[in-house]
Symmetry: C2
Subunit: 202 residues, 2 copies
């Protein structure tokens, strides 16, 4: 199994470099459990989904604390057949047999409900793609059911589902979507956008 | 068939609203062939892939002409079984029978080679997801072969492929990836990021 994300942070300010550099220390508690590579478009985080999602959450909350309109985008993947197996990415959730859909939804909801709040309000939207299977919409609809039952569901949109609420349950919801839907050993990806401090009226 | 994109434009400047508003007139030539809906995270463009890609290209080139570091993100989709059929999205490429892979690669390369240059240099990365089929990597590897032969291939990264060059062949390459790979009637999505005027050294 190989899992991780290509992430980018966009602070809408002349001083975007300072906002990004100041936020980077939020990654420090995770650096021993991540492989990190940066270029001019994105930063690669390789690690288990829980570490990757906690690191993204803390990085984004730190940037949003600047008060500036900030957006984080992440292209998240696990189980891509084209990527090498990596011991750094091993996690029991992705090696155990596939549990029934209702059991997976219940576990996902319990994890989201137990997330300690961050104090940062965000809006987010994401698309889940379960690849390499015939009935891919079955898993996607199962995930949408879970998200609609969670505390941070906002609305369905074309191509994606929108969330709103505290950053902690929002990132936990998307993390559970990656972990619990699609076959544990399967190829699953997420296209995630998280926004804070937008001046656009809701 | 239903096709379109959720797009977001991120100018990294205090004056991001002005950069966005000034760029919007670039969409005017396409408005009669698009359905457009905006909220606080993204703008939905519904239309045929060629119209959607040309509109995204012109919008991004207009924003990048500000000289500011600008990023466009797009979550692009065609053929999602959960979306309604829409006459506004009908295009022959997505109703004809599936051509052999080599023929599709050749057509894609010819389209990219004929793109009139925009004069705006960009970097970009994208991931192609061909859904609802068992051998999804076959189509993805076919697409990667095409991209590696195109004039704008930069490098392979984990989870995505990176492009660099003039905005016109870059957007054309990603548009051809959506049109020509995966079954014509199938569900195919792309996670696209395009960047200009980045201060990060290459």
């Amino acid at each position: 199994m190989f899992s991780g994300a290509q992430i980018s942070l966009y602070p809408m300010t002349d001083d975007f470099v300072t906002v990004i550099v100041d936020a980077l220390s939020a990654l420090d508690p995770y650096r021993d459990r991540l492989r990190i590579e940066t270029d001019d478009i994105s930063t690669l985080l390789v690690g288990t989904p829980d570490v990757v999602f906690n690191a993204m959450r803390d990085l984004f909350v730190a940037a949003a604390a600047s008060g500036r309109h900030c957006v984080l985008h992440a292209s998240i993947s696990r189980g891509c057949p084209g990527e090498p197996d990596d011991p750094m990415c091993h996690t029991p959730e992705l090696t155990n047999p596939m549990a029934p859909l209702d059991e997976r939804k219940a576990r996902a909801l319990a994890t989201v409900a137990s997330a300690a709040l961050s104090g940062q309000s965000v809006a987010a939207q994401f698309s889940l793609y379960t690849l390499g299977i015939d009935q891919h919409m079955h898993e996607i609809y199962g995930c949408i059911d879970f998200v609609k039952s969670s505390s941070v569901f906002d609305k369905s949109k074309n191509f994606c589902t929108k969330l709103r609420g505290d950053a902690a349950p929002v990132f936990a919801t998307v993390g559970e979507a990656l972990l619990r839907f699609g076959h544990p050993a399967g190829h699953v990806t997420i296209d995630l956008t998280v926004s804070a401090n937008s001046p656009t009226p809701l």
